[in-house]
């Protein structure tokens, strides 16, 4: 906007014009504040939703971790989260014989609704990730097969398969129940020692408790039964091919889901949230832009005489355009700062005050969220300021000076 910039004029001179541009929005503080609030809300929505959906996306991506089973096999007609044993334990060994299969294991998913849990945690009743029936999600698994669930490292030790009183606990439940390694927990009316805790990054896995398969089978009267068979394919095998192979080997008995399928389903949900957040953002931006246009038109209108004076002292139309446009951008950039701060502080506050939500979502601070919000603010400033700035630059000096 400053033609002198091209000519390489001195910094102080540019600063002076810039400081005028920065000062002017503060002349009518109430009106500017209202415009800023309008845009800041839009920016806040963009940043907050961006941080949350970005965090969820990171979380689903880590469910596709290397090492974990790619295929989950369940009884036909049931869903993978249903608890209770429906598949014969020996099926795991049978599937291992199919080509392209590297490793398998049967797991038993169950839930514990014991009242003693409910009293240990005020949050367990609202935890959206709790197992079916609203209790804790408990999985029985062979200790040597934990990697198929993506559990590669533990804080503490792993349970021994023959034990009847040892569990390991996901990070989210541990936080939620305020438990660490060495603490005990009451499950199915028995005392269990937490020998280890784990964090996989997958919020479903991290919200669960693991114990030896045999022990859970006994406790839930599911001897020799499993609910899922986890299948890991060989390095060169195609997941879909193996998945179809399993489906064909057990028609009407078993169905398969791949980790990629699951991630896709979650990502579809996330992309819906993404779209919705864009729609909300666009609406907020539109309202914000209308606010900016209105604010700047009022400002130009009130300063008609002053603009006439600036023309009389020789200011170019371009400089006047630049000044008003700059003021508009200053407004929206303040809104960017305000909105971003509110969003970051707000999201962090909600996540700390509500650990059950905080356990699922680690907010993303990826810079493109902030870049996106910055661009939106900048563009609202440009588009909101363009028309008022054009009007100001085209004012006839004599009319402007006659203006009362």
């Amino acid at each position: 906007m400053c033609i002198d910039i091209i000519k390489g004029c001195e910094k102080r001179e540019i600063m002076s014009f810039l400081s005028l541009v920065v000062k002017n929005p503060f002349r009518n503080k109430t009106r500017s504040a209202l415009a800023i609030v309008g845009i800041a809300i839009g920016i806040m929505v963009i940043v907050a939703l961006g941080m949350v959906t970005g965090g969820l996306k990171n979380s689903t991506q880590s469910t596709l971790k290397a090492g974990a089973a790619e295929i989950t096999v369940v009884q036909a007609g049931s869903n993978s989260f249903e608890s209770g044993g429906t598949i014969n334990e020996s099926t795991a060994a049978d599937i291992l014989n199919l080509s392209g299969v590297k490793d398998t294991t049967g797991i038993l998913r169950a839930s514990n609704t014991s009242t003693s849990i409910a009293t240990t945690s005020s949050n367990s009743s609202q935890g959206g990730f709790a197992g079916p029936g609203g209790g804790l999600s408990i999985t029985g698994i062979d200790s040597s097969k934990l990697s198929l669930l993506g559990i590669d490292s533990l804080n503490g030790t792993v349970f021994t398969n023959s034990s009847t009183n040892q569990v390991i606990m996901g990070k989210t439940v541990a936080q939620d129940l305020n438990k660490t390694v060495g603490d005990t927990i009451d499950l199915y009316g028995q005392n269990f020692t937490i020998v280890g805790t784990f964090e996989t990054g997958s919020f479903l896995t991290d919200a669960g408790i693991m114990m030896p398969l045999a022990n859970l089978q006994n406790l839930t009267s599911n001897q020799n039964k499993v609910s899922d068979v986890l299948v890991k394919v060989t390095d060169n095998a195609n997941v879909t091919t193996v998945s179809n192979e399993i489906d064909n080997a057990y028609p009407n008995q078993l169905t398969t889901t791949t980790a990629a399928d699951q991630a896709n389903r979650i990502n579809q949900g996330l992309s819906f949230i993404d779209t919705a957040s864009w729609a909300i953002s666009l609406l907020a931006i539109f309202i914000g832009a209308v606010g900016v246009i209105n604010t700047m038109i009022m400002s130009v209108y009130e300063r008609t005489r002053e603009i006439g004076v600036l023309k009389a002292v020789g200011w170019t139309d371009r400089r006047i355009l630049g000044m008003i446009l700059g003021e508009s951008i200053v407004l929206t950039l303040i809104a960017f700062v305000v909105g971003t701060i509110i969003a970051v502080v707000g999201v962090e506050l909600i996540l700390t005050l509500s650990p059950s939500v905080g356990g699922i979502i680690t907010p993303s601070f990826s810079y493109d969220i902030f870049l996106r919000a910055f661009l939106v603010a900048f563009l609202v400033g440009v588009f909101g300021g363009l028309y008022p700035a054009y009007r100001a630059s085209r004012l006839s000096p004599t009319e402007a000076l006659r203006y009362e």
Binding site: C9, R27, R305, T316
Partner: protein
């Protein structure tokens, strides 16, 4: 340009408003010498401000010719550059920018020049000293009296070393005593800065301070009265 040359030459200048219904200027002729101090007098609505606007290139005429400081204002496209270089305006109302300090207000016209920030500040200080306001340079105009504001406006008008000062009733909103101070200041600075001064006024005693009075009636110069000089 030597001293006997005309800095303003206007011939048959016409300007009408409202589709020709109002003839603000109706065949105006005027010649002003470089360094001259003239006052333009005449009844309300006779076209005094319109004439000043034409000289200052704030508006363009419909007909006739107008040469100011060697530039044909009927032809040039760079009106803002002309205003910035050649003209300093002093209005009846001071028209200062309220959120800028006194010295910043004076510097405003210099944005369009290549002056460095130190040059800008030094020039503004020099003029604020000349109008006796060096102790108020960081004040906001709202804290100043009417006469002080008008002195800031005069400093602002002179800051780019214009060849002509156009003053439209500069004392119109001041009491007569303050008005006199402002007039003397304008007259002094016109001599000191060697600048042509064209002043519109209603009041005869103000007009009489000029070297020459030009009477305007119905958009024309009536008779040229050589007064004091």
């Amino acid at each position: 340009m030597n001293n006997t040359e005309n800095i303003i030459e206007i011939k048959g200048l016409k300007k009408s408003y409202d589709n020709g219904k109002i003839k603000a200027l109706n065949g105006m002729d005027l010649e002003v010498k470089k360094g001259e101090f003239i006052s333009i007098m005449g009844p309300s609505g006779s076209g005094k401000s319109s004439l000043l606007n034409m000289i200052g290139a704030l508006d363009t005429a419909n007909e006739g010719s107008i040469m100011v400081a060697g530039i044909d204002l009927m032809k040039t496209k760079k009106l803002n550059k002309f205003r910035s270089k050649e003209i300093g305006f002093v209005f009846q109302m001071h028209n200062l920018i309220p959120n800028l300090s006194v010295i910043e207000n004076v510097q405003i016209p210099m944005f369009e020049t290549n002056a460095s920030s130190t040059e800008m500040r030094e020039r503004a200080l020099e003029l604020l000293k000349a109008v006796d306001l060096e102790d108020k340079i960081d004040q906001k105009p709202t804290k100043l009296s009417g006469g002080e504001r008008q002195r800031v406006a005069i400093a602002r008008a002179l800051v780019n070393h214009p060849s002509i000062i156009l003053a439209d009733e500069p004392t119109g909103s001041l009491d007569s005593k303050t008005g006199e101070v402002i007039l003397n200041l304008l007259k002094d600075l016109h001599a000191k800065e060697n600048v042509t001064l064209v002043m519109v006024t209603h009041e005869p005693y103000v007009g009489n301070m000029a070297e020459r009075i030009v009477n305007v009636l119905d958009g024309k110069c009536q008779n040229i009265v050589s007064s004091l000089s």
